[in-house]
Symmetry: C2
Subunit: 453 residues, 2 copies
């Protein structure tokens, strides 16, 4: 195949039939290979985890710099040294940082539980006492954000995710008059899955916009703040300062972690917010915990030494994963460029490639790939309740497999995309509903068993 191809939709019926036959043959060959590959999960690979294996022998001491024994109870807000390190990385004050356990997701969940049961600093009452609570969900977005809200019975309203962040005009319109709109999820840096970076302008508008709810909260999930794929390193907008300057200091709550920096399951997570929010969070946390794993905090501080240590470490990750992202792009370009049946993102950071296929074929592509031994995140996973209204969005996660597997898997995915598109166009011309189109709409449960991140 070459890149100077005609768009499928412009082909004559005969040529389309020829293309379909060709793709069926290619797909049969693909199936014949008996692959077993997995692109579902935003997980670091073994080689990436190896970068942090020195953690297994740390810490070398058991006292923090104040002389306190990190092995014992206490220190609810986390090790001072670690809070300082993250404060520098996130451009906040150490007093604005809480260092917790191994999961920022757990901190997000705990924060929403606090809002539900107790209300926030600026809440007139606990959210559980509101008639209705709604959240704005930029799409495509992170499935675990959405399933968490669904579990809490919080209603989700979608807005489009653009290259510079959520459609901020749509957000402004939603929050202006409706006090039941209490929050928004944002992955500001190299968003999951689009790779978008929230611009300074969008961040400033989100920070300043009038909201009917006095306790409207931006859940600023900065999961990929330092996860650059090129030398052109994105800088996260300083949402805490912007919000404070706009008179809404308690509006944003930021989350980050080392899950994709050190060990995915054994890293450290942080929350950063206004000092009033930090006090509020710690007050409720004090009922649930005597303190985080400070040994693991010190282990990370010794490992990184300082913020520059984190940045240097991330460059090693980049060396491992940037070629995998290049392989995704190469395979998609080779297989699909010019056909007019797919668009995909070219992220400069983060963990995902966003693939939009021909409307109505995403579920079919995922099903075809599965039959050929290539596991993809369920179609629709990046939408609330797993429902992509156009059935076109697929999230690709190339970090976990080794490079050769990424190449093989993505060539296969390209075949599936082309085949599903040819089927769909053929069926559309025949006025049918899909030749082999028994693709089931993915639902919430299938979305949930999907991607880890």
């Amino acid at each position: 195949m070459t890149n100077s191809r005609t768009a499928l939709a412009s082909l004559s019926d005969d040529d389309l039939a020829g293309f379909l036959a060709e793709q069926r043959e290619a797909y049969a060959a693909l199936k014949g290979r008996g692959l077993k590959l997995d692109l579902t999960r935003g997980k670091p690979s073994a080689a990436q985890l190896d970068l942090s294996d020195d953690l297994l022998h740390l810490p070398t001491t058991t006292k923090d710099r104040a002389g306190v024994d990190v092995r014992n109870y206490g220190g609810l807000e986390g090790l001072a040294e670690l809070r300082e390190l993250f404060a520098e990385l996130l451009w906040v004050e150490p007093s604005q940082v809480v260092a917790g356990g191994n999961s920022s997701l757990t901190m997000m969940y705990g924060t929403i539980v606090d809002f539900l049961l107790f209300g926030g600093v600026d809440s007139p009452r606990p959210w559980s006492q509101e008639e209705k609570v709604r959240f704005i969900c930029p799409v495509p977005g992170y499935d675990r954000h959405f399933s968490m809200l669904a579990a809490f019975g919080i209603e989700m309203v979608t807005v489009d995710m653009h290259a510079d962040g959520p459609d901020v005009a749509a957000v402004e319109a939603l929050v202006k008059d409706d006090p039941s709109v209490k929050g928004i999820w944002i992955v500001p840096t190299y968003a999951n899955p689009s790779g978008a970076v929230v611009s300074q302008e969008v961040a400033a508008r989100l920070a300043a916009m009038p909201t009917a709810a006095p306790d409207f909260t931006i859940f600023w999930d900065n999961a990929y703040a330092f996860h650059h794929l090129t030398e052109d390193e994105a800088k996260s907008a300083d949402i805490l300062s912007l919000a404070a300057a706009s008179g809404h200091p308690n509006r944003p709550i930021m989350f980050a972690s080392t899950s994709k920096i050190t060990f995915a399951g054994a890293g450290v997570a942080v929350l950063a917010a206004s000092e009033a929010n930090v006090r509020w969070y710690l007050k409720h946390l004090s009922m649930a915990s005597i303190g985080p794993d400070k040994v693991n905090h010190l282990r990370h501080v010794e490992f990184f030494r300082d913020a520059e240590g984190v940045r240097a470490h991330m460059r090693k990750h980049r060396e491992i994963i940037a070629p995998k992202f290049a392989a995704v792009d190469e395979a998609l370009t080779t297989g699909l460029a010019g056909l007019g049946v797919a668009e995909w993102s070219h992220p400069t950071g983060g963990y995902f490639v966003n693939l939009d296929v021909l409307d109505g074929t995403a579920s079919r592509v995922v099903a075809l790939a599965k039959e050929a031994g290539i596991a993809l995140t369920p179609a629709g996973a990046s939408f609330p309740l797993g429902h992509d209204p156009r059935d076109r969005n697929i999230r690709l996660a190339p970090t976990f497999p080794v490079l050769d597997e990424v190449r093989t898997a993505m060539a296969g995915v390209a075949t599936c995309v082309a085949l599903a598109a040819a089927e769909k166009l053929t069926s559309d011309r025949a006025g049918g509903v899909g030749a082999e189109g028994d693709a089931t709409t993915s639902d919430q449960s299938s979305a949930r068993e999907g991607a880890v991140r």
Copy 2:
């Protein structure tokens, strides 16, 4: 002083005045020593923590026995090897065990949040939708249990803690007809602070009793299950089997941790319950976590090897702390035996000595000790809202200081107890309200800043 003393209450006015003068002198001398000692906290000492320092170099591998990389995401229920180890220790099936983070308190809090927001397996509705939720709190008990309930707005009803567990007849009467009584806290083995062990008979009645609430839950906080101080090792009643046999399999939820086995702040916690309860717990946890710190799980499995490894390790703790408990008993006996102004427990395990002083003098004793540089847990801390109706209960925590400090501190405490009693009796005879009796009643906030465990 000798042990063949006359009870203070039987002394003539003159003899009492003489005793009071003597104690004032002793107290002045005590103050003059400028001590700075701390018996507030149920924390392991540095020597105890040292026993587990091999953890700092573990694990030696990064794969579990199934070949899964423990550094990565996943495994919500915890490492299979660790669940098996705890299953053996707690006489349950591995499928009944969830291994979590560093804190059983966090698991307890999360469990109550689940009941509040979603309801339990046998709940007709979420507890937050009930008009009123009440818990039975055996007293004296663990202050953090009580402050957690207070934070949730759950009403607390006290029953007495006896040598064989909570006053079970009183519990039966409370749960029989009132569906708002949803739960009870129990520390079944070497209870905090009394050291009581729930007998098989009491456990069986708790498991079998009819309850008006279909989802009445026993929060079985087995924090000291393996924390023996003598060779006469208490065996926890097998509450899960008892409850299942009585047709109430989901009634008990057990909690335990290695906080006082390995590192207080960096151990592992577990929850054990019926398989239905485990599924319920994991379903909600799956919204908040991708998995626990499995590296720390494997670290602990390598360290202990097996259940017998835990038991052997606990014998080393016993060697360190049993002499401290003996020193407490010796100092109290030397200072107070025969005076009729104090009773104290002789625990065979756990972390505390329960000291009951003359009614109305506990706050005064704590204040006197504080002035003399000896920090004690605030009076009343072992009661809901920090309110001990008889103002007589003091919790002593002798594990953290070194042995010599325990001796010194406890001799000082004995002096304070004797002085406060002599003051009180003198004042009572004079018809007054307390000579120097400006003791403030401890409140919830002072209780909270008190003992760590």
